[in-house]
């Protein structure tokens, strides 16, 4: 039961929120309570899987593969926990920063359904169930994106909706084809059965459609267009939620299906992933350096950083594919991807929250319109500096370790080109982060158009940001535990037999049912 909680709690919260439509306070309380308990549940799960056990839950008591199974391995548990952290931070921020109309009509329940869907996607062990969570996530995000109905929101939403639905259709077709070819939807079962196909190239063909679909959701090259077109249009709390979680679900799905199911032609797929990773990094960062709005810069950077995550994956599976055995270097590279994802989720969501704080303080996030915040808002500036330097991979923050593990893995694996590209991109990231810093925070302060925030608003807006900053510092200083976690998760990911055994082992199903 435990591992269904991160999905059920926010669902329950969302359903209850609907009863309080039009009243923001009870909804806010419900949202905070739900995300907080969701976080507690995910941390509990994380502790449960910390030693390498994989928890499973067969819904309805139907033995896999006949029903739907939830599986929490380390990677999944880490992702769910991060989802809950971002959720809690965003809800707290919303209490301070949301306008009353949005807060009373839809913002909270939809954020909760989004969180439920994200958790579901991280935990499910069933391909079609993944589709359902994807759709719930998408539809929640559509509504959140358009909530308020401003022109920019609607325009962005049309692009976002169209391209993501295109991706969903491809995903659905891929599911149909996979079921028609292999006869099952349970991912562990698929992993077993797909090896029976006469030709491994057939499996790769099935993977291709799936990867294109996930690639669109992940915002990889050349599919990322929907992201910079829309992420900066909704209220900052929504942007933060999106930036932290949505594309990462796509990346998660890519990692999951590649590491678990389609391991027939890993060396080829590894190369493909690396090429995509490189192009994603470069196009994303080049887009970022020419923008003049904080939130647009950050949006393009999401794209570029998706490339880093794919880089770790590509190196790892390419290495295992060509060497045959699971090498420590492959585990290292994979752990780089895992580390990068969890660093990125925290820092990116936080940067969007900070841009939100800038927005409600000054009324704009345009680099040309906002200046000199370091003088008028030294605390906010410090928080931005920490987060942005973490994003740029500056020690001693979390981003440095993520970058270090990836670069080290890449160099050890001999993937020099991608390492070179990633370092160049990292320099440009530093360039654009300092561009924000030198223009928004340095310079002569402007006369603020908006009235100063009251104490209560300030507390709600600043505390989640400060909390996430502390988190990135803690990950940086206590890098050992994070690195260990990432390494263990990576090892588990690359050895798919553990996942498969856990799903089909009745004993572990018991563990899942009664933790």
């Amino acid at each position: 039961m435990l591992i269904a909680l991160p999905v059920l709690i926010p669902m329950l919260g969302a359903a209850l929120c609907l009863l309080f439509w039009g009243r923001s306070r009870p909804q806010a309380v419900l949202a905070l309570a739900s995300t907080a308990s969701m976080l507690a549940a995910s941390v509990w799960i994380l502790f449960g899987v910390r030693d390498g056990t994989i928890l499973t839950l067969n819904f309805g008591g139907w033995q896999a593969p006949f029903g739907i199974t939830f599986v929490a391995d380390l990677f999944g548990a880490i992702m769910v926990t991060l989802g809950a952290i971002v959720g809690l931070a965003v809800m707290a921020f919303s209490v301070g920063a949301s306008d009353r109309l949005r807060a009373s009509s839809g913002h909270y329940p939809l954020s909760l359904t989004l969180l439920a869907a994200v958790s579901g996607a991280f935990l499910t062990g069933d391909l079609f169930n993944l589709y359902v969570w994807f759709e719930l996530m998408l539809l929640s995000s559509f509504v959140l994106l358009t909530l308020g109905g401003e022109r920019g929101q609607l325009e962005g939403a049309i692009k976002y909706v169209t391209l993501n639905l295109l991706s969903s259709m491809l995903f659905l077709m891929a599911i149909g084809l996979i079921y028609g070819t292999v006869g099952t939807l349970n991912m562990a079962d698929l992993a077993r059965r797909i090896d029976d196909l006469q030709d491994p190239k057939l499996a790769t063909l099935l993977a291709t459609l799936l990867l294109v679909s996930f690639g669109i959701k992940a915002g990889a090259f050349p599919f990322f267009f929907w992201l910079p077109a829309s992420y900066h249009t909704p209220p900052p709390a929504v942007s933060a939620l999106f930036s932290g979680l949505l594309t990462k679900v796509g990346v998660y799905a890519i990692i999951r299906v590649l590491s678990l199911i389609f391991d027939q032609e890993w060396s080829l797929l590894g190369d493909v992933v690396l090429v995509v990773a490189g192009l994603t990094m470069v196009t994303g960062v080049l887009g970022a350096i020419v923008q003049n709005d904080m939130r647009r810069i950050l949006s393009f950077h999401i794209v570029s950083q998706i490339g880093y995550m794919l880089m770790g994956l590509g190196i790892a599976i390419g290495l295992v594919g060509s060497l045959g055995a699971s090498s420590p270097i492959a585990v290292l590279a994979m752990s780089g991807a895992v580390f990068y994802i969890f660093h990125h989720i925290i820092v990116k969501a936080n940067l969007f929250l900070i841009s939100g704080a800038v927005l409600i303080t000054t009324g704009s996030t345009n680099l040309k319109e906002v200046n000199g915040l370091a003088k008028s808002h030294p605390f906010l500036s410090m928080l931005f500096l920490i987060s942005s330097m973490s994003l740029a991979g500056i020690p001693i923050l979390s981003g440095f370790w993520a970058k270090f593990v990836l670069v080290r893995g890449g160099l050890e694996a001999g993937s020099y080109t991608i390492v070179l590209v990633s370092l160049a991109v990292s320099l440009l990231t530093l360039y654009s982060m300092t561009k924000i810093w030198t223009q928004v925070f340095w310079g002569e302060p402007d006369d603020l158009k908006s009235p100063p925030l009251d104490r209560r608003t300030k507390a709600w807006v600043y505390s989640p940001i400060a909390g996430m900053c502390v988190l990135t510092i803690c990950i940086g200083i206590g890098a050992e535990s994070s690195a260990r976690l990432a390494l263990d998760a990576a090892e588990q990911l690359l050895d798919s037999s553990r996942y498969i055994d856990a799903v089909f082992d009745g004993a572990s199903a018991q563990i899942g049912d009664a933790p």
């Binding site: 593969p65 306008d99 109309l101 022109r151 057939l202 291709t208 160099l411």
Partner: protein, 776 residues
């Protein structure tokens, strides 16, 4: 040693509050702590110089091979003393110099963080830990250069310095990881600097790349050609920063790392040669560029560039004792001169050394600091700078052959230009007339003059009596670089250097004479130099600007092309890519045909349905009226529903009918006031789109056929059908799947529906105008 770094960090965290509570005298406390730490390191002097390095270990990230291992040997001790000692004096100086600045707390915090990082950098015995501190010094340097962030030039220069050193940092990261991999061989990378294996590195194919990348990193940090341009620009920082970071310590980080890796890498082919070549070039260029400027700090900055070149060159030449002597000498006199320059600029109200006259009449103490420091810079006996210069010339001559002659000329020339520069900066404004004579000028307060005079005096004392710690420190420093005790005795005593007269002494004297001569004739010399400004546009700074410009321009072009705002272009790219990927993956399969299903018997119903679907689909795209298109669309839906009825899925059919009807109703309700379908597109673009669409369509068909052709032994649904009645008590298997086997899917589905309904509701009821009202 860990404690000292932590104390500084703690102090950094407390500084802003401290300044708020007790005002600028907080600086005195901070300076005292820093000097106390210097005292602690000084107390380790005896142990370290006796040849027993101190090692402190602490575990940090063992799974990645990173441990905080601090090593105190001659090299790191020298640096630690300079960092904390000069740091303490600079902090003291700051308490007066920036005493009235509102950013004083921030300044202390950043400066202390810098000191902690710099200390960590030189103590760390782990490449990664060293790198971590390295990057932290870059960041703190960035923040300090931009301290006066309301000035546009300060922001720009800070940014430039960060990008240049950031570029170097990334190269360095790759370089040291490669180094560790090369050293570790098959056992995994070796990050502990003392454990690096020169032999293994020599054998590794990665060695070349790693050396080049590491050198780029060191050169960019230490402002070696072609990265030297950022340092003079960094003079936007307040003077204490220039004194501490940009002359005495941070810019020497590159030199430090080169020195640290010298025992490991000196066998490498390019290592020594590149050090000598780049070092000598930088030395000469820096000295020459210094004479082009008359502003205090600009001039000193270029002179620093020159000195950094000398240091790099000396390590390359293997002249470790000379490097140690020069390094210490330079830190003392340059920090002193920067501090004096800061005070002088404040008091005189201008930074133009040519304009200021007889400043020494009012700055009765600082003028002596300037004079002593300047003499040391010029390399005049008996100052420590003299010993440094003598040893440098001697090492150049020791290179032998043509190289020796070239080096001797270069060093001599640089020395002469440096003499010129030191007169210009340390003598001219204080003791010679000039058009700008500040009225009522007064000597600065004691914290401002105390530091420089101590540093200047130290330069004199150590020059006169090198046995007072200087010799053992230099020996121990040299031993760290050589990896063994130095073979030759270190001779710093004036007696040895001045008698018997030698070629170095001759060159030295000549340099002083030429330098004085140049200064006397400085106006024709300057007009000659003015012509060289034209060459600047080929210089590295312009190259940097062009590089940034080109990157931005191409990024703009690329982003314009990709993120062009047209959804249709996005869809096209995505569909084409998807089609291409799937097509390629299909073509790879051998004997695709064997997977295709056999063409079974056709029932007339199937044919009719298929034709209906096809005809409706095509007409949906062609019909010009909206209602017609909707009708065609629902035609497809109903045809599919009929197909479901015929093929064993009545539930599905019912749902499909119902949903199709609802969609039509909503469509008609909502869209009846939308404009008619307009024909916006040209025939050409329509044709292109048809081709793209057919491409995807044929891929879908192929995949469908492939999947239909493969038979599945026992799909999971066999079990679901078999157990529906016995275990799930339901006879409608589809419904049993929906509410029992896969109930969680259905739960997700009803949530999707709920969200969609809320979406429709909010879209229609929440309007921007109303939202604006609501926020009021």
């Amino acid at each position: 040693m860990h404690t000292t770094v932590l104390i500084l960090l703690l102090l950094a965290a407390l500084a802003p509050m401290g300044v708020r509570v007790i005002g600028k005298s907080a600086g005195l406390i901070i300076a005292t702590v820093s000097l106390a730490i210097t005292g602690w390191y000084a107390s380790r002097f005896g142990i370290v110089t006796a040849g027993a390095p101190i090692l402190e270990t602490m575990s940090w990230v063992p799974s990645l091979g990173v441990g905080v291992e601090f090593l105190l040997d001659g090299l790191s001790l020298t640096f630690a003393l300079l960092i904390c000692g000069i740091g303490g004096l600079v902090l003291l100086y700051t308490s007066s110099y920036l005493g009235d600045s509102p950013g004083l707390g921030r300044f202390y915090a950043t400066l202390l963080t810098f000191m902690a990082s710099m200390l960590g950098l030189v103590l760390a015995n782990n490449l990664i830990v060293m790198f971590i501190f390295w990057e932290l010094t870059s960041i703190t340097s960035f923040l300090l250069i931009g301290f006066d962030f309301h000035r546009e030039s300060a922001r720009r220069c800070a940014w430039q310095a960060l990008v240049v050193t950031g570029l170097g940092g990334l190269c360095l990261l790759a370089g040291i990881i490669l180094l560790a991999i090369a050293s570790g061989g098959s056992t995994g990378p070796e990050f502990a600097i003392r454990e690096l294996d020169p032999g293994a590195i020599l054998d590794s194919p990665l060695a070349g790349a790693s050396v080049i990348l590491t050198l780029i990193g060191c050169f960019s940090k230490s402002a070696i050609v072609p990265f030297h341009f950022w340092l003079p620009n960094a003079m936007e920082a307040p003077s204490p920063v220039s004194a501490l970071l940009h002359s005495a310590t941070m810019v020497k980080a590159g030199v430090y790392l080169i020195a640290r890796l010298e025992p490991t890498l000196n066998e490498q082919r390019f290592w020594s040669d590149s050090l000598v070549a780049f070092g000598a070039t930088t030395m000469l260029l820096g000295a020459a560029l210094a004479t082009r400027h008359v502003a205090f700090k600009k001039l000193l900055a270029y002179s620093t560039v020159s000195s950094l070149g000398i240091l790099v060159m000396l390590i390359g030449l293997g002249a470790y004792a000379a490097a140690a002597t020069y390094l210490i000498a330079h830190a003392l006199f340059k920090a002193c001169l920067f501090l004096v320059a800061g005070t002088a600029t404040h008091i005189a109200g201008t930074k133009d050394t040519e304009a200021i006259g007889h400043l020494g009449r009012s700055m009765k103490i600082s003028r002596w600091s300037a004079l002593l420091g300047g003499l040391s810079l010029a390399g005049v006996a008996p100052f420590i700078g003299f010993a440094g210069k003598e040893l440098t010339i001697k090492s150049g001559l020791n290179a032998g052959g043509l190289e020796a002659i070239l080096l001797a000329i270069a060093i001599g020339l640089a020395a002469a230009l440096t003499v010129f520069a030191s007169i210009q900066v340390a003598f001219k404004p204080f003791f010679m007339p000039g058009p700008h004579k500040p009225e009522h000028a007064q000597e600065a307060t004691w914290p401002e003059w105390l530091g420089p005079i101590i540093l200047a005096t130290l330069g004199l004392v150590l020059g006169l009596a090198p046995f007072l710690g200087m010799v053992p420190l230099v020996e121990s420093f040299g031993a760290s670089l050589a990896g063994a005790p130095l073979a030759d005795d270190v001779t710093l005593g004036l007696g040895y250097l001045l008698w018997p007269p030698s070629i170095p002494l001759g060159i030295s004297v000549l340099a002083v004479v030429i330098g004085i001569g140049l200064f006397m004739g400085r106006s024709p010399y300057r007009s000659l130099l003015a012509k060289t400004f034209a060459w600047d546009r080929f210089g590295p700074e312009r190259t940097y600007d062009r590089l940034v410009g080109t990157t931005l321009a191409s990024a703009q072009v690329l982003t314009n092309a990709l993120q062009n705002g047209s959804l249709r272009s996005y869809t096209r790219i995505i569909v084409l890519t998807a089609t291409a990927c799937v097509a390629l993956a299909t073509l790879r399969i051998d004997a695709v045909a064997s997977y295709l299903p056999s063409f079974g018997a056709l029932t007339p119903f199937d044919v009719m349905l298929a034709l209906t679907i096809a005809a409706s689909a095509v007409s949906a795209t062609m019909i010009r009226s909206r209602l017609g298109a909707i009708a065609a669309l629902s035609g497809i839906g109903f045809a599919i529903a009929v197909y479901f009825v015929l093929h064993g899925a009545p539930d599905l059919a019912g749902t499909q009918f119902a949903v199709e009807t609802l969609i039509v109703i909503i469509f008609v309700l909502v869209t009846h006031r939308l404009p008619r379908f307009a024909r916006y597109t040209t025939n050409l673009s329509r044709s292109i789109d048809i081709v793209i669409a057919l491409g995807l369509g044929s891929v879908v068909t192929t995949l469908t056929l492939l999947a239909m052709g493969s038979t599945v032994a026992s799909p999971v649904s066999d079990f679901q059908a078999a157990e529906a009645v016995p275990s799930a008590y339901g006879r409608n298997v589809i419904n049993v799947i929906l509410v029992d086997y896969r109930a969680i899917d259905t739960l997700g589905e009803v949530f999707v529906l709920a969200v969609a309904a809320i979406g429709v509701f909010t879209l229609l009821t929440i309007r921007p105008s109303r939202e604006a009202e609501a926020t009021r």
